[in-house]
Symmetry: D2
Subunit: 280 residues, 4 copies
């Protein structure tokens, strides 16, 4: 027998910009939205029966149609509205996943209507809505490049016949952060305030600690967030180790004491972990 296993469908890369004109300066909301539905859709695969298949074009229309009334606060709140809408749109829908990226635009000087894009990071929200439980909410950041110019080491690792890396107690550590954190079920949150607070702890912990490895940094940052933000349940990070190698300038009679580096992206380390509260 052959069957349909895990499946989802939806619309990705919905680009929506809302200009809020009531205030001075205007406000620009610039979102990229992805919607995915899970549920009892096996017939659409097996039988080509589309009677339960909300068209992904309709999903797109829905985002634009609801943005005027409902995109008035955080992306988490808008995602919850969208998720509930799609859950109600068809009885076959069991779970609606809404992912929103927000791209920041900052006013230029005092101008009421001119903006420049702050491309330094992307704020993210991943919300899952089901009929039984409250929404599951993950907030996060992506594309945030960070660097430590000292207080970063990597030593004490095992050596085998293929190991050539020297131990170091002072290297440059650089990464491009993808991180998300889940809020405890039932928490009553101001999502914008929580985002600002957790992000601030993230950066502070990154800046303050002495790193023994990327793994260790993930722990330190994750623990700091969980220590200070009781509404946060877990923190997940995916951190590439974007190696900066000290250039050997000795052939040219030049000393290079942690000054000149070659920045590389291929290959890169990749460290992924979740730090969470345990029952213990």
């Amino acid at each position: 027998m052959i069957e349909v296993g895990p499946n989802s469908y939806g619309k990705s890369a919905i680009r929506l910009v809302k200009v809020v004109r009531g205030a001075t300066p205007h406000q620009v909301r610039d979102l990229t939205i992805a919607i995915a539905l899970e549920g009892d859709f096996a017939a659409s695969y097996r039988d080509g029966d589309n009677s339960a298949v909300i068209a992904t074009d309709t999903m797109k229309n829905t985002c634009y149609a609801l943005a005027g009334e409902h995109l008035t606060g955080s992306i988490e709140a808008f995602a919850i509205v969208l998720g509930r809408h799609f859950l109600e749109a068809g009885s076959e829908v069991e779970l609606a996943r809404i992912s929103i990226e927000e791209h920041a635009w900052r006013p230029i000087g005092d101008a009421p209507d001119a903006f420049s894009r702050d491309a330094s990071e992307t704020r993210t929200a991943n919300v899952s809505v089901t009929r039984e439980l409250g929404p599951s909410i993950e907030a996060g950041v992506a594309d945030l490049a960070l660097m430590k110019t000292t207080r970063s080491a990597f030593a004490g690792f095992p050596r085998d016949r293929f190991t050539t890396l020297a131990e170091t107690d002072d290297r440059v550590m650089a990464t491009k952060v993808t991180a998300s954190w889940g809020y405890a079920p039932g928490a009553q949150l101001d999502f914008d305030a929580s985002f600002v607070a957790v992000r601030s702890t993230f950066l502070e912990a990154f800046a303050d600690h002495h790193s023994e490895s990327v793994q260790h940094s993930i722990w330190v940052i994750g623990k700091a967030i969980l220590d200070r933000h009781t509404d946060v349940d877990h923190v997940s990070m995916s951190l590439p180790n974007l190696h900066h190698w000290t250039v050997d300038l000795s052939p040219f009679g030049i000393e290079n004491d942690r000054e000149v580096y070659v920045s590389t992206t291929e290959p890169h380390g990749l460290i992924e972990a979740t730090i969470r509260r345990s029952d213990g």
Copy 2:
């Protein structure tokens, strides 16, 4: 209490080219390798203790060092060698995941030593190795753009107040395939021959069927693979629906009967499913 949850670490984007010079023409093997280890690594996070952390730089060296002797057949076979190596490299390693992409180079004419890159698709292998079980092996393709110019419909879907999409019994369907299939545990396989055979069934099924939706196409293709290839356990696909919209030329007094389309990528549908054997 705060603890380390699920975690993995490794090296990504290892770019390795091997030139096999013994034959005419030469053979070019062009791989991008990613390695991720899972196991008892909590101390590296919590305590900054690197005594179990095989350096990702060592992982990179290992790929190059083993390529001469062991990259002689399929990427699946090389991935198994690498996975077993890392499992044996440290007692804390419980699972080694090796992902390899192979980029094809074809000889130019009869030249023994000149090649052009066939960028039309990427062959993939994802292999997981543990101590207890045999390796879990997924073969696949990525970046393979396909199109049906007729025999593709989308109708019978529900309409609500945000639905504007017209039903159609003849649309262009275009996608960029990411697909993988898992081989049954213990199967004795010629991985290269199996890849060629499954890929061929994939394309044949894509070309032959009348599609009622992308979901339906996934089923038809997945079922064809499972019907014909008894060693395949399941097939997973992630198919964007890269919409081609018929351009409305009526303002210009020009009829456009399924001839001129605008090709788009934002937004796109995204349909993901696994088709598998069931016990029933």
Copy 3:
């Protein structure tokens, strides 16, 4: 005094797909078009006077509107039609530059209506049309990755105090070709046949020669094209040198005689030149 200097404006990234259904199999024409107009447009800058500014939205519409009737042969021919249209569309237009990339789709097996994208190269045409002269026509290829696994050297270069590169008489040479060639004014050409012929000479010359450097390869290929194709006036190439470095496996007691390479893209050499007929 301040004035408007050189300027152009137009529409880029127009994505147009035409399905030709009359034949079996169907034919898929997949183009990306860019249009740029030059001429007497200073008032649009200086005075915000748009009375001569053909809207770039109109340019887009025009491409779709004319594709049915006029995209029946080569992209060069379609570009000429478009260029002449825009020259006639406004008296201020002095030059219309039309750039078209064609993305190839190949039928799958014997299917009349199923296609896979051949992403290995992009065919290009750059056509400039003015009132005074005949169209200037450049045909070309882009994104074509090529490799020589032997018969490629680099030696005899000057050494200064910053030179560490060893001379080699046998290296891997890899590049991603962007090339274009201009046809002699007034030539009566079958653009499709000429493209196939020149491209074939390009690959043949690449495959056949012994390369002393990327510069030398450009000369050999360019000269071969000019020697064999009398309608070609000049050949321009932009060739990155995508270095493949032999991995030093000696720390592991492994010999690596031109077998295992690390493929890199950052940094890369970049060699650009035009080979042309001279009056001499």
Copy 4:
């Protein structure tokens, strides 16, 4: 006769990071450098004679070797040092073009050694050095996304049978700026101060004006720069018009008065012009 026409060669994508540790906080200089040499290199093409060909690997080494001593101020100053070095490195070199992109890193809070990348724009310098003249210096920015939410119109353009665009006196205008400006020969400049000043004028003029078109905006901005910065000779801009289309929500009974937009990149307008001082 066949000859070598215009040509250049060099190294691109040299990734260099310098950490200046003397001060608190540290300073991170993150550059991507491209070097291209022009001159009497025909023999390297025609004869495969590399005796004048400074290896591009040597160029890379030179950047790293000179960074310690010479990358102490602006990227323009470092580019001049590099350009002069390569001009002196070989008598065949007639012109050295040095292009540097600087990626900004900002300290995190008060930390002396932690930084986040400001990805909102890239500072650029393009310097050409010859034996006869002083260096030609272009400073600029790239990747700077800007938006006006009102005070942007597009009307009064000609209408032909392919024109469907409505005139508008209030649209969203968005672009991603690539701009550069040339300093007058012989000007004695503080390149960092000049960059800051010109960039500031750019943003101020963008924010302040009422735009009749992208062309008009280029004029207004370019003229403002030339008016206020006497050392600037000309300003060149390449501005895509990244269309934001008002979504038609009337099918859903929802009014959309310049509030909800779909942001697009394909196709886009592209307006390129130089505003310069004239002799008149």
